[in-house]
Symmetry: C2
Subunit: 451 residues, 2 copies
Amino acid sequence: MGLVVQKYGGSSVADAEGIKRVARRIVDTKKGGHQVVVVVSAMGDTTDELIDLAEQVSPIPAGREFDMLLTAGERISMALLAMAIKNLGHEAQSFTGSQAGVITDSVHNKARIIDVTPGRIRTALDEGNIAIVAGFQGVSQDKKDITTLGRGGSDTTAVALAAALDAEVCEIYTDVDGVFTADPRVVKKARKMEWIAFEDMLELASSGSKVLLHRCVEYARRYNIPIHVRSSFSGLPGTWVSNEPPAGHRPLQRSMPGSRSSGSGSGSTAGSTQGDKSMEQAIISGVSHDTSEAKITVVGVPDKPGEAATIFRAIADAEINIDMVVQNVSAAATGLTDISFTLPKSEGHKAMEALTKAQAVIAFDSLRYDDQIGKISLVGAGMKTNPGVTATFFEALSNAGVNIELISTSEIRISVVTRVDDVKPAVQAVHSAFGLDSDSDEAVVYGGTGR
Amino acid sequence: MGLVVQKYGGSSVADAEGIKRVARRIVDTKKGGHQVVVVVSAMGDTTDELIDLAEQVSPIPAGREFDMLLTAGERISMALLAMAIKNLGHEAQSFTGSQAGVITDSVHNKARIIDVTPGRIRTALDEGNIAIVAGFQGVSQDKKDITTLGRGGSDTTAVALAAALDAEVCEIYTDVDGVFTADPRVVKKARKMEWIAFEDMLELASSGSKVLLHRCVEYARRYNIPIHVRSSFSGLPGTWVSNEPPAGHRPLQRSMPGSRSSGSGSGSTAGSTQGDKSMEQAIISGVSHDTSEAKITVVGVPDKPGEAATIFRAIADAEINIDMVVQNVSAAATGLTDISFTLPKSEGHKAMEALTKAQAVIAFDSLRYDDQIGKISLVGAGMKTNPGVTATFFEALSNAGVNIELISTSEIRISVVTRVDDVKPAVQAVHSAFGLDSDSDEAVVYGGTGR
């Protein structure tokens, strides 16, 4: 009987009823013979309410105190959850991040986990308790100050504890049924995946999928902790995220137009067992999109060594994370080139300021800021051995009348930037072109026909 | 330049405006050249809201988890207060009870402080910070669990820190102007005391005065920490509670009818400097009342050794604190006696249950429960050398037509139990009889005429 780490998000414990429902689910797991460690987020809007309060007393809330404030949220939910479990006749103890041994660096508001020393959790489990742990928080190694882990922190807490406790699985309970081939709000025919590989999930997470954050998946992959993303409302099996598909896994049935003309399927049927590894691994996991970014173009940069470096050093010094970077071949006549990059809209103002300051040194012509953009990404580990994928992707966009502004690729991902209004039709077109739609007539995989 | 500990209650930090007002007051103290440690309670109704939530998920909230839950309240207020201070351009750091070194026993919901090791507070002060500490909470010595100190816990935290840090004064900021000679809601002519001795304050606190709790005063007396109780709203000087009156202290002007007939004052005027110690110390500090208790009478107890002990063992085993105990002389004919005692109404049901169970062993006749009672107490260290006080007290009650049901005395206090409806006229009569009314024509103290 193994150890299970379960994580419940704020929407699952939004009120007393939610907490009681979650308590019953936890007790069911315990009754199933498992040791259970539960990581819980703050209730519903608690964190937002605390942020509001902070802004009322101080326009620029300070790091250390802001963390102290925010961690009150999980303290409330974890204590209530422990009480609700005890009320069902089972023993439970709650632990703050610090008590659970979540040791971090000292970067307030976005600390990183350095070590996990869950001695108290282990003791509590050995004594027959269900352990409830505050997500999103830890204690700094040097100063012993309370820290928070930033966005997606609770998921990361759960995976980190699962790794430190050598758990069988880390179950992430959320308000959706799992990971889908595209955002179901955009693509009605999007399908829930039964399984997705870590590396595909990493690409989806970094290109707009909100279900799991990159950081949490990265941690899970490093320590090889299978994640099971599932709904705390429906109780249905969700999506497994791991290195290898679970036993008995059958890849999604899909239709795949392998040629330029759409509609004509080719290849073998899914679920056949030809012993071909590429048959087991879906070529395309899904289509993600992201409309939270803006694009900055630095116009007329002298095309000589070091200029790009100076630009991105200015951005880095302002502590801004950028995403895609594209530089075109310079025009021979002028010796000038344009450099474009994307970044979160929320950082746009800061970046423009930093670049304007740097203009004296870099001597570019001008800056252009554009926040009416969207990014569409196609992700799948299978694509690295399937050159047809790129062609099909661009054809689908072209057929949908979508103009492409920037392109960036990794081994298992293609991303394009378009006008923001084109995002929805683009995602739908690509999802359909790769046979991911759920009511497809043909059940065909691309795998057998690749290369 | 000394160290000042300030404590702000929940009503002082009920909202963002309150927090900002308190922050300005703290900064003013700091600017005055003091090192400042601030103990803060949870905002306004936060604690009650958390208790509500707990009751929604579990009818009997568990000790350890309940403490974990409640301590979230101070975590919020202390972090916000630190932010507000930083926003005024001063450095501040907040500390949980655990971080501040408040070490307690393991009795959840009403832990007692065992030790205070404020190393981190000292460091923060030495680095120029204002230290903000969560009131009401600590960490248990053996299990390292979060504990709460129960009622009045924040005041006790403040005094304990003041003692551990060797502070000049512990300022308790509240929503009243200080300690009054009686509850101003009952006695319009009640006066604010400039100073009151620890021992008188202890008696007032244990007999119904709500301004300071017994426990906090006891702690302050043991470590000889002067307390200054004052309003966080008015900023006026409040009441000093200490061993000796502050330099320049003038006792309250008061009229004191020394004889049975009321109205005729006798004795010397207040403020005269005859070098008589009893002149400096007011005979009567004030009149307190308490309507939160009930009375239980055990009727027909066999008057033989050990019966009373058995009764109070049964009560003690149920962890019920009792207040007054009265046993009458037994009737010679029956050899039976009645034992009455008072206790908090909230414990009444539990006590009746415990006694009913004990009836088989103790063989009393019956139990009577009465919650329509009130207690009036007259407190003053001077009374132990002034035998006329008791007589004047009972005459005042008699003149007001108040019937007395129980009497209990200490060296510096007389308490009586009456019908609850008699409490208000009784307090007014006694307050007036001892010349405590503020607009008295005569300025006379009893001190010079005693014995």
